[in-house]
Structures are given as structure tokens and as C-alpha cells.
Symmetry: none
Subunit: 264 residues, 2 copies
Amino acid sequence: MSDSDGNGSGGVRALDAALGLLQAMAALPGPASLSDIARAANVPPSRAHRYLASFLAAGLAEQAGRSGKYDLGPGASALGLAAIARHDFVNRAAESLAALCDQTAMTGLIAVWGTAGATVVRWQRTRMPVITSMGLGTTMPLLNSATGRAFLAWSAPAPILSVLDSELRRAAETPGLIPDLDATPAGVAKMKEQVRAQGFAAVEGRFIPGLVAIAAPVLDWQEEAQAVVTLVGTDTGAILPGSDAVTALQTFCRQQSLRTPGRR
Amino acid sequence: MSDSDGNGSGGVRALDAALGLLQAMAALPGPASLSDIARAANVPPSRAHRYLASFLAAGLAEQAGRSGKYDLGPGASALGLAAIARHDFVNRAAESLAALCDQTAMTGLIAVWGTAGATVVRWQRTRMPVITSMGLGTTMPLLNSATGRAFLAWSAPAPILSVLDSELRRAAETPGLIPDLDATPAGVAKMKEQVRAQGFAAVEGRFIPGLVAIAAPVLDWQEEAQAVVTLVGTDTGAILPGSDAVTALQTFCRQQSLRTPGRR
DNA sequence: GGAATTCATTGCGCAGAACGCAATACAGCG
DNA sequence: CGCTGTATTGCGTTCTGCGCAATGAATTCC
């Protein structure tokens, strides 16, 4: 009886119960007595005590004072930090980014979608004296940067809508700002389609005169961009489909995508 | 076999083994195959599979793809965050952090030492439009971030050794990556000394071009860093010893150090 | 293209382990 | 001094997890 809880996880029964208790501990606001934890986890106190003894031994839990309450221990922190670090694709991508930049001799940057738009969070210079005014935290334009276009093509429409609106409005006010784009919803849709079909976004000298850029997304399991990796250089040939730079970039993003967790 | 493992935990045997496997997963650098995990935990693969099934059901682990590798899941992150928030001063400090950020008009963040390195656990933005994605879980570099340097200066050598090694190696491969540091053990020792003498670590535009940062430790009773508080801003003057920001940061850290959890 | 190796995954039966119950120990408190 | 509230622990029963080995599947190698 007892409840709908009966999920057949297929694993170890005792372990399921124990983990439920662990999560119950995590859900509680603070240190709690054994009975409270047992009640919260819907487990008899004696069992809870056994489980807690194991958690104690593993460092996942600690008991305060003498005959006191239990709470999560340093092992839980360490475990969580390991999990968090693992889920942070920015760091991992950043590590490999240096190699990618070396390989292509281009400057690389990683951007994520922040509240203000596509935000640069890492960048890796090479020997190439690419002189730009952008740094970490720069938000890239949605319509006339490779980075922005990649987000446009691989993001859910909702989050980027407001930014898209304002950029479209600005583009409409200044015709010729974006030569290769029809600044209408239809034109945007067409561009989006083209970018997706191509597998990457490219601009030449649009956002920064004299420089070319290619950008590809790091996708999560929902096929949405969690981040965009961009390569910036001066060689016009690098932006053509099939070029070494494009191939390297896409390989890189595919690798990162595989390791990307979905949720946070 | 009765290896020397002699239990002594007094808890549930299967749970002990399972938790050992969980910690083995955490210790591994990234996603791993079942066999690898089983080997690392010194557990037969079939048992490992049962345990992992339970971890999977509990959300503590995730398997990538279909027949893919296992790694820690979102539940592990949540657990760790709960643990950190719990037995830690982080919450308390986080409340005061807002005030500190207001006072100095800088972005603040709190980092703790995880297995992967200095891991950001809280951050408080001000109006500075930066670092949108540097958030929970970002691991900071040891050598070229103020946060990392503060850990370097006030941590026991052992835990950070591996990270230090790899960063030194990378720094040696890329001269000029860290302009103000001699990437040798001697150079590190010197920097460490200087940071300790100064009472805080500072970088200007190193980890994040265009931004400056200062970091000071929250010490425990062993004079080791429990956490590091970092302020990030754009004003170059803020990183000078004796500046308002530095003073405020140090006062803040001293206060937090006093409140070290008197657990024992 | 076929075969062999290396994985992850899963039945099955037995032994050992965990569970429930209830007794114990200990603290605070009337 | 006894009562009530904890946490903790024996003990016997039975249920469950474990080892072994077969299966399925994917990748590699020839």
C-alpha cells in the first residue's frame, strides 16, 4: 500500500530507499533529527538509522554534537561540486578551445545566451593580432554577427524574441546596415533556414570590418544551442563550407554537444 | 576475499559499496563507462550496474546517449548545493555579499574548493553587464584569476597540487598567457608569498580582459581558505592596496571568518 | 562483408544480509 | 524519582541482492 511510490527502478531496492532518504535530507531546510528524516522519507526510523550510519561512514552525512541531529556532510558538497563542474560545459569547452584555435590559427570565443543577448564568456587569442574592442561580457548582435546568427538559428524563439525585435527595428531604421539580410521576419526566417541547412553561421566583415567569423552551436539534447563557439580570423576562405576551419569548428561543437547535459 | 577493507561502518553493507561507487564516479575526471567505474570502485560490473540503475532512478547519475557512459546527474548537483548551503556559511555570506557589492559597486562571487578546482557557488551581480554565464559551477583557473590565486595562497598544498600541476604545464606551453607570473614552482611560490603578504589577490584583465578582480579568503581556524570572496569590476584603481574596495573586501572576509562553523 | 571482441544488460538460484520488532540507553523534565 | 522523548542495537526470519553466465548489441578488425 503505501502509495504510488512504487516505481520499479530496477535497481537495488535498499539503495533506492536510502537515496530517497538522502534526498529527503537535502530537501529539509536544515539539520534534522533522525525521526524527522525518517518521517520525511517515509521510512521506519530503524532503517533510517542504518542508512544514516552508512552515509556517515561515507562522509555524505554528519551528525552534529553528541546525540544530535543529522545533516549533509562534506562528502555531499564534494560530490555536488564534482557534478556541477562536470555539467559546466563552458569550462570543458574552454579547455579544448585553445587546441581548436591553435589548429585553425584563428581567435576563438564561446558565447552563451544571457539576459542581454549572446554574451561572450571565453575567448582565446592566437598569435594573430586580431584587434577588437570586445572582451568578456560583450554581447554580440543577433543579426550581423556570426555568433548571434548561430543563436538565432538554434535557439527556441521565445527567449530571443525581444532582442530580435529591437534589432529588427534598428535594422529597419538603417537600411544597408546588414547588406546580406532582408530585415523582415520573412528575411530572418530565410536566413535562419540557410544557417541551419549549412550547419554554421558565417559573416565576413560585417560586425567587424576586415574580419571574418564562423560560428556553430553546442547543442543540448533538445537540439537547442546551449552555447555558440565562434572562430574569428582574416582569411576569407575560412568561411566557406568545407574549409578546414569550418570542419574543425563543427567537429569541436559536435564533441562538446555530446557531453552536454541537458538541464541544470 | 576479505581484503583489508574491513568494514567498520556499521551501516548497510550494500549501501557502503554503492556510495563508494558514487564517490569513485565523482573522483573520475568525467563520464566513464560502466566497466571503468566498476574498476575504479573495485566492484564487479554486474553489481555496479545495479547500483547505477538506482542512481539513475534517483537522478544522482545520468547515462549519456543510449548505451553510453555514465556520469553524475543533476540530482548530485542539487544534493551538493543543499549541502553547501547547509553546513556552510555560504548562505550567510551571500546575504551580506549583496551589501558588499552595493557598497563597492562591483560584482561579487563566492567560490569554494571542489575536486575540479575553485568552484563558484554564489554570485551577486550589480549593474555591470558582465559575466552572465559565469555562475554556479564555473571553475576558475588557479593561476590567472584572482579567485584561484587566493586559493593558491591560503590552501593546503596537497589538494590543489594536481590542478596546479596541470595549469603550470599549460602555462609553460603558452608563454605569455600569464604575463605577470613566472610559470615555475619558484615563481608560484613567490606569487603566493606576495599575495599572502598583501592580504588579497588581484588581477587586472587577466582572466577576463577589461575587468579587474580582487579576492580574499574566508579562513577557518586552521588559517586555510574555506572559501574565497572575489569582487569584479572595471575600475583599475580598485585593485590597489588600501582602496575602498580592498578594505571593504577584507573587512567582509574577516567578519565571515569569525563565524566559522564551530562544528567539531 | 563477415567474424570476433568488448561492451552493457539481465535471469536465476542460493546464501547471506537487511528488515521489523522490541528492548536498551540516555537525556531532559515534571 | 519516574516519565517521556529521543537514538541506538539485538535477534530471528525472510526476502533480496549477489555472482555467474548467457544474451544482445555495437564496434573493430581482418
